[in-house]
């Protein structure tokens, strides 16, 4: 890196960017990107990286091959994933499920295909730089740098137009122009609510001048979602830059990132990015000589889902219990330390720089009329290609689940897709062709939520799914209001009864009634949406509830009170199950038919798993 002194003005930033770009283009002919997000690291990408590095040395290819660690490429289903990029032809090959023993061949072959390694198709494009291709379902605005640049290098970020949006805003636009741009772009909050971001900024900007705050909500609490974390791990500067822009727009000089303490890697990358931005004068006092000052501080959450709610989050930053309060006054009027404050989600912010760079018309050309832009989903569950996907708003669920996700794994049948996490609902195959946006999902009894998307197959019991989410809500209710604290407990008890086959038809009716009461009388979004998983499954999968209640049957074979394990006459008496049963409840001598003591059996399924003769049945 050439500059170690602060970047003085936009011209200096531009020349640094040119220098970075030139450096990137003239680097080694082959660039190998190694996906080192949390999922990659869990899949032991680290050892692949080590072997790649040592192979480059032993094959003496230091001049030909450069290796860079990036954030998540979104291809979580085939981690460890690497991308071999040829700088001359600008072509990439993606390899999945890479093992250390593949490394020599990959290094040897450079940009031609290495024999024996899985090749993956890239099915996304970056609307800012590339033309849409009909075959590509995904469009990357939020994830444009994630998985491509080294998140710990500010130079990499600057080389991809980083900080030019901030430079443009603070040196050539008035604050109200910035706000108008965001309003015109039609960007809506990606944290779940879908409130127009520019309008929220306007409220805060309209408050009398004085101390104001910008908060980035990185509390990502949905128990099956990891979009925000991927952005923070893969492209932290984009969030910092956007926070500074929003600070300029509303007249705030201070930003706070509220992040879950459970995200150590994201925290580390953010701290590193803030340090670099300060060093180069892209945060701090008198940014780019414009006279605008902006500082960012990180605050840690402590394992409370409700702290994702903005008023609770503010209390938590103030060192209090994270309990929500009644709105209005909205935080934009009276927020942190009773000062005007805007709270924005990570993904919302990650759209800002592209909007400022490319303008509102460009942004509006992607997505739908009412919901321009894209949405990132953490696609998980029973699909083949689990991963991080970013699609234009208005894409159908079918395109996501069966297109990007490539359908259900293990030849099972699709049953439902759950969106919106604990506040959302389940959608059936009939709903798969709905173009998704905030309104269409709400009309179907679900929610956009923050972007968790869990696909379920025939082996999933929908009553059990409802019970799972309610357990989560119960754990997480702050306890401030009775309907949420006590009502959800009663709902949960009723669901337990259903799962145990002890409920009757009146229970189902009571479930519905109590759900309605909780929705209407709870104070915050947590309570108001907590019965959604129950209501949506009751409506869409009534048959399954009836099976549990009337026939004492769990067709998916999940509810343990309604299933039992039995050994059939295929048993050859190998004793394997008896030796593996954790509670030793399987009886039988070698070479004789074994039996299970159903009183003692804890229904763990180990016996079925270990039996090589298919002699254990589940009923």
């Amino acid at each position: 890196m050439s500059t170690t002194t602060p970047v003085k003005d936009p011209a200096a930033l531009a020349s640094w960017a040119t220098e970075q770009k030139a450096q990137q283009d003239s680097g080694a002919p082959i660039l190998i990107r190694v996906s080192m997000g949390t999922c990659g690291i869990a899949a032991k990408t680290g050892s692949v990286l080590e072997v790649l590095q040592s192979e480059v040395q032993s094959q003496q290819k230091e001049g030909q091959i450069e290796i860079v660690q990036t954030g998540c490429m979104g291809l979580c289903h085939s981690e460890p994933t690497i991308e071999v990029y040829d700088r001359q032809t600008r072509q990439s090959i993606f390899y999945g499920n890479v093992k250390p023993e593949h490394a020599p061949a990959i290094v040897r072959e450079e940009s031609s295909q290495a024999y024996g390694v899985d090749i993956l198709t890239q099915n996304w494009y970056r609307p800012e730089e590339e033309k849409a291709d009909v075959a590509t379902a995904q469009a990357r605005i939020v994830l444009r740098n994630t998985g491509r640049i080294n998140p710990e290098s500010i130079g990499d970020y600057v080389g991809t137009a980083g900080y030019t949006a901030l430079a443009k805003a603070i040196t050539s636009m008035q604050p109200d122009e910035v706000i108008q741009t965001v309003i015109d772009a039609g960007l809506r909050g990606r944290g779940g609510g879908g409130f127009p971001t520019g309008v929220k900024w306007q409220f805060a900007a309209n408050q009398p001048a004085g101390e104001k705050f910008v908060i980035c909500n990185a509390d990502e609490g949905d128990p099956g979602a990891f979009m925000d974390r991927a952005v923070l791990e893969g492209d932290p500067h984009a969030v910092l830059e956007a926070m500074a822009i929003s600070g300029y727009a509303i007249g705030a000089a201070k930003g706070v990132i509220y992040i879950r303490a459970e995200y150590p890697l994201a925290i580390e990358r953010l701290q590193c990015a803030i340090g670099q931005a300060l060093e180069y004068g892209l945060l701090g006092d008198n940014i780019l000589g414009s006279g605008f000052d902006f500082d960012i501080e990180i605050k840690y959450g402590a394992g409370a889902f409700v702290c994702g709610e903005e008023t609770a989050l503010i209390h938590s930053i103030e060192g209090l219990r994270g309990e929500p309060i009644y709105k209005p006054p909205f935080p934009a009027v009276e927020g942190l330390w009773k000062r005007p404050t805007i709270v924005n989600n990570v993904e919302t912010l990650a759209n800002i720089c592209a909007i400022v760079r490319q303008g509102p018309e460009w942004f509006r050309s992607i997505g739908t009329e009412k919901c321009p832009g894209t949405k990132v989903f953490a696609l998980a569950g029973k699909v083949k290609r689990v991963g991080l996907v970013e699609v234009p708003m208005g894409t159908t669920l079918r395109d996501i689940v069966f297109g990007v996700g490539q359908g259900i794994a293990n030849d099972r049948a699709f049953k439902a897709v759950q969106t919106g996490g604990p506040s959302g609902g389940c959608l059936k195959s009939d709903d798969l062709d709905t173009p998704i946006d905030y309104e269409s999902l709400r009309a179907l009894g679900s929610m956009m939520g923050s972007g968790g998307m869990i696909v379920m197959d025939e082996d999933d019991c929908m009553v059990n799914v409802a019970k799972f989410f309610l357990e989560f809500t119960l754990d997480e209710s702050c306890g401030r209001c009775t309907p949420c604290r006590v009502g959800n407990k009663r709902l949960h008890e009723m669901l337990v009864k259903v799962c145990e086959g002890k409920a009757d038809m009146r229970t189902l009716e009571k479930l519905r009634q109590l759900s309605d009461v909780i929705k209407e009388t709870s104070l915050c979004g947590l309570g108001q949406t907590s019965p959604n998983p129950v209501l949506s499954t009751l409506r869409q999968f009534r048959r399954e509830y009836l099976d549990h209640v009337l026939n004492h049957m769990c067709t998916a074979g999940v509810c343990s009170a309604l299933i039992s394990y039995e050994i059939n006459d295929r048993c050859v008496g190998c004793t394997l199950c008896a030796r593996n049963c954790p509670v030793s409840c399987i009886d039988g001598s070698p070479k004789e038919l074994h039996t299970i003591d159903k009183e003692l059996c804890i229904k763990c399924g180990v016996c079925q798993q270990v039996c090589k003769f298919h002699a254990v049945d589940k009923h």
Binding site: C39, K299, A302, R321, P582
Partner: protein, 165 residues
């Protein structure tokens, strides 16, 4: 005590309370939990009533009030893992260790926790042992995994650990 001092130094006046969570995070990072003694010291140092500190401590599930087991086993019960045999794994582990989630074994060797989504949903069900993530774990894999993390014996007491640090 270092943590408390730096926090107290930075946060004063009407906004002093905002340092409270930070200080508690610091204490937990140092001790693995928030010892009552330390909470009392913090109360004096920040001039915050002890009741206020416990009000906050008990609200956030991240903070522990008791010393955890030396090796932490965290079973994921996020949506994806829940649907892919996470509960079966948890059950098996409970049987194996004879403890419930949130508890430590009597010898203090293992701590069993349940966590919500570790962000590796493609690896469900997931078990994390201290910082190491194991993917697609089946109950039959447990003995092998536990062997890799044998109970730590003769662990130095907390005080010793400090004096060497």
């Amino acid at each position: 005590m270092k943590v408390i001092d730096t926090v107290a130094g930075r946060h004063s006046g009407s906004r002093a309370d905002s340092g409270l969570l930070e200080a508690l995070h610091g204490l937990q990072a140092e001790h693995g939990y928030v010892p009552r003694q330390e909470a009392m010291a913090l109360s004096r140092r920040l001039s915050v009533p002890l009741a206020r500190i416990f009000e906050v401590l008990t609200f956030y599930s991240y903070f522990r009030l008791e010393e955890p087991g030396r090796i932490t086993l965290s079973v994921c019960d996020g949506t994806s893992c829940h649907l892919q045999e996470g509960p079966v794994l948890l059950n098996a582990l409970q049987e194996l260790l004879g403890i419930k989630p949130g508890e430590a074994t009597a010898d203090g060797a293992y701590q069993l926790n349940v966590v919500r989504c570790l962000g590796c949903c493609s690896c469900s069900p997931v078990l994390m042992v201290d910082d190491k993530v194991y993917s697609h774990v089946e109950p039959t894999d447990l003995p092998r995994i536990m062997k890799k993390h044998p109970p730590i014996v003769n662990k130095e007491s907390n005080d010793d650990a400090h004096s060497t640090a």
